[in-house]
């Protein structure tokens, strides 16, 4: 500076619109202008000779005092900006507002410098303007980016993250400090797609947005995002801002769809298998149906064949024909024929032609009765245990068939225990809930268990099949379980078999509980005793053998028999002869026995008529017609006749 008036210099210092403090080499105030007085409230007299730290004890002055020292010792000039030192000194503007100032420190005097000068410039207005501008920008930015649902990241030209919005922090699980300065590649499993797009965007080209990226969150999970980004400039500096939209939901949906497609084949296969299973079951039942029909036919023929056998043998027995040995033979033959008859009955029951006479049955009584019989049939090596619950309600069943079933199961059990074992028969009452094979309700569970050889899974699967038997040729017919299965199904129950190889088998019959009380099973009465009778019987049957044997039976009983081989023939006899009783076979060529019976009834309303039928056709008969099922023995024939009176 050059001056003509030294004193003027002093006035100038006080006229300056800027603060001026000059410190000596010890950091004490040597000059304090008016501006400083006004702004700090500290008068020059108070300030002179004191260090700044004394004048402003609460201010953080280390940088300023160091700068002053550096100025004096080294001639260094320093800048203390309001940006980094907001309110370095407690100063106020003329309106009393807090002053924001920039501070400059320079060496004063000749080198080495004796003093340091501190110049304080009020930048409050500019700072305020900047602040307002920044706030407005930030507000606008926040309104969009700050509250955006999508993660938004800003990168500098080197790819370092310079800003991350709250969504980004939340979505990726990192705090801002963990993201800033880092590169997004650090969080990507595969950085290649991003690197590719980055090259394009930074060259201000147009990459193929969006780019799908997999971001590894802080917790290690993957988040899929679609990224789009664009370049922007601040002065000459390039930045890239990118939006990373969450596509996890979309991907999940796509994955589901893919999975669905992939499993479609699988599901189709499963469905087809299901269908096949159903078809198979249908086929099985059809097969059963067919077999049933077949056996029905066979049974009928059998019955027809058996009738003269039984009839003839019966006569022989009654007449006491032959010597002792001969009679024994006849007995044996009759027993065998009996068994054959029983067998046919069972066969027909299986074929479901046998009408099931379901009624309320006291299962306990049947079990107790049967198990008394078991002792003999099963042999000494088998121990029989009976476990019947008390107060059991009656079951809906056919008592005869139930007995047969029990016997059958017992025999199976015995055969499974060649070296002996334990046979347990248990009866319980159980409730079945919804969603099961059985309809919901109360059931009687009748179980027969043995400690025998058991069945493996393959055998178990076939156990209920007709004609399936593990017993070898000649032993058993293989019809038992399938017939019992049919029986229980017909009654509205089911059959369950459980078996473990080497441990034993349990067969359970589930029968619905009957409403009403059990009908006392009456012992079969053999009505008629000798069955003697008198009178003329018109016997109609187109099968000669049967007719002959039946006629023989009748004449043995004391009847006079007129034989007719057809309904037509019979009618002519009706017209021409005295007839006291008509016995006719039902199934005949031409007019059936039932039709004949009506004809006869029409002509002779009071005529007693007995219809003989095989098991097969009994359902066809009108229920009001008295009937007799073949094959029959003389006693049964007599009983049948007796019921006509």
């Amino acid at each position: 500076m050059r001056h003509s008036n030294p004193a003027l210099a002093t006035f100038v210092l006080d006229a300056l619109d800027t603060g001026l403090i000059v410190f000596d080499g010890d950091g004490k105030v040597a000059i304090w202008n008016d501006w400083m007085t006004r702004a700090s409230g500290v008068a020059a007299d108070a300030a002179l000779g004191r260090p700044l730290t004394e004048l402003f004890p609460d201010a953080r002055l280390s940088r300023l005092t160091a700068a002053v020292r550096e100025a004096v010792e080294s001639g260094a000039s320093s800048l203390l900006t309001h940006t980094l030192h907001p309110m370095l000194l407690p100063l106020r503007t003329r309106t009393g507002r807090v002053m924001i100032a920039d501070v400059f420190v320079r060496p004063v005097g000749e080198k080495p410098y004796s003093h340091g000068a501190v110049q304080i410039a009020d930048v409050s207005a500019a700072a305020e303007r900047e602040r307002v501008l920044r706030e407005r920008q930030n507000a606008r930015y926040d309104a969009v980016v700050g509250s955006a649902a999508d993660p938004i990241l800003t990168f500098d030209a080197t790819g370092a993250i310079q800003s991350a919005n709250p969504s980004a922090q939340r979505e990726f699980g990192f705090a801002a400090a963990e993201l800033l300065g880092h590169r997004i590649e650090e969080f990507l499993d595969d950085a290649a797609p991003w690197a590719e797009a980055w090259k394009r965007v930074i060259a201000n080209g147009a990459p193929h947005w969006p780019v799908e990226l997999a971001v590894r969150r802080k917790d290690g999970s993957l988040s899929y995002v679609d990224a789009t980004a664009s370049l922007w400039m601040s002065e000459s500096r390039a930045f890239v801002t990118g939006i990373f939209r969450d596509v996890n939901e979309r991907r999940a949906a796509e994955a589901d769809l893919r999975h669905l497609n992939e499993t479609l084949e699988e599901r189709v296969r499963e469905r087809t298998a299901d269908l096949e299973r159903v078809h198979e079951q249908l086929r099985q039942s059809q097969k059963m149906e067919a077999v049933g029909q077949l056996t029905g036919g066979i049974a009928h023929d059998f019955n027809n064949l058996l009738t003269p056998i039984v009839g003839g043998l019966d006569i022989l027995q009654r007449r006491g024909v032959g010597d002792e040995r001969g009679q024994r033979l006849v007995d044996g033959a009759l027993q065998s024929a009996e068994r054959a008859r029983v067998l046919v009955q069972r066969l027909l029951a299986f074929a479901r032609r046998q009408p099931l006479q379901a009624c309320a049955v006291d299962v306990e009584k049947i079990v107790v009765d049967m198990t008394e019989l078991f002792g003999g049939t099963l042999g000494p090596a088998v121990r029989v245990v009976v476990d019947v619950a008390s107060e059991l309600p009656p079951a809906m069943a056919d008592p005869n068939q139930l007995e047969m079933a029990l016997l059958n199961l017992a025999v199976n059990a015995r055969d499974a225990m060649p070296d002996g074992g334990t046979l347990t028969v248990s009866v319980r009452c159980a409730d079945v809930g919804p969603g099961r094979k059985l309809a919901p309700g109360r059931y009687i569970r009748l179980a027969v268990s043995d400690t025998g050889t058991g069945m493996d899974a393959a055998t178990l699967a076939q156990a209920v099949e007709p004609f399936f038997s593990t017993k070898g040729v000649g032993k058993g017919t293989g019809l038992g379980l399938s017939m019992i299965h049919g029986l229980t199904a017909q009654l509205g129950g089911t059959l369950e078999i459980a078996s473990t190889l080497g441990l034993g088998t349990t067969v359970e019959m589930w029968l619905p509980v009957a409403s009403g009380r059990a009908v006392q099973s009456a012992d079969e009465e053999v009505v008629g005793g000798e069955g003697r009778g008198a009178g003329v019987v018109l016997l109609v049957d187109d099968e000669d053998l049967i007719r002959t044997s039946t006629a023989q039976m009748l004449s043995d009983m004391g009847y006079t028999v007129i034989e007719a081989s057809s309904a037509k023939e019979a009618m002519s006899h009706i017209h021409s002869s005295v007839v006291d009783l008509v016995i006719t076979d039902h199934l005949m060529a031409g007019m059936s026995g039932t039709a004949l019976a009506r004809e006869v009834k029409a002509k002779r309303p009071n005529m007693p008529i007995l219809i003989i039928s095989g098991f097969a056709e009994v359902e066809d008969l009108a229920p009001d017609l008295p009937r007799l099922m073949k094959p029959f023995r003389a006693s049964e024939l007599a009983a049948g006749i007796a019921q006509l009176r």
Binding site: A66, G75, A76, L79, T83, A157, L180, R237
Partner: protein
């Protein structure tokens, strides 16, 4: 055209200079720490003596992007320009570190100018003042000014003072809040200044090591 300066500093002189600069920037680091509130580490691993064109080349090799520099002039027995140079991208990092890291990007861009100026001021003063002190000389060091450009223009600034032909080229490493920022310091001076510096360094070496340098160290 690469031309080596006629007067060179020998190994020990360069070593001494490096040591002085390191002390200087370390002090600056301590100073910065006050402002930043976190540990600040500054170091100058290497010092090279190169020509202006070499300096431009050195910058161009590592930095292909734009640069920002804090510029101060020093006058005295040694006269020249001192510049703290950063790649423009790194300067934001620096500003973020220095302002505490909580500010949004926009604010940082706004404040960059001032924050960089002051930070550069502290570092350059640290260097230069220490050199001056240890060499027992006084310099007059100006207030900082911000420059932006590609590199070459930094070394083509119009006088005064005279744009020297010699550049003391230093790499400087910044470490703040686990952020490593690298930059450069370039001190441009003319030949007379370099010669004066050499003399001062010799004196300094003798003072501190008790060695008469002519006896023990041969120039490169």
């Amino acid at each position: 055209m690469i031309s080596l300066p006629a007067t060179v500093l020998d190994e020990l002189e360069l070593d001494a200079l490096t040591e002085l600069v390191n002390i200087g920037v370390s002090r600056a680091a301590a100073s910065l720490r006050e402002m930043v509130g976190r540990q600040v580490l500054l170091s100058v691993p290497t010092v090279k003596l190169v020509s202006r064109s070499q300096a431009v080349e050195l910058l161009g090799q590592s930095e292909t992007n734009r640069l920002v520099a804090v510029h101060q002039v020093f006058e005295g027995d040694i006269t020249g320009r001192a510049m703290l140079i950063f790649p423009e991208v790194n300067s934001l990092e620096l500003v973020r570190a220095v302002t505490g890291g909580e500010l949004p990007l926009e604010d940082i861009i706004e404040l960059e100018q001032e924050a960089l100026a002051e930070t550069g001021n502290i570092i350059l003063n640290g260097c230069l003042a220490t050199i001056a002190n240890m060499l027992k000389r006084s310099l007059k060091i100006s207030l900082p000014e911000i420059l932006r450009g590609e590199g070459p223009e930094f070394f083509e600034l119009a006088p005064p003072p005279e744009a020297g032909d010699v550049v003391l080229f230093l790499y400087i490493n910044f470490s703040v809040s686990e952020r490593d920022i690298r930059g450069y310091i370039a001190m441009l001076m003319d030949m007379p200044s370099l010669e004066a510096l050499k003399v001062l360094l010799r004196e300094f070496i003798e003072r501190t090591t008790g060695h008469s340098t002519t006896a023990t160290d041969a120039p490169l």
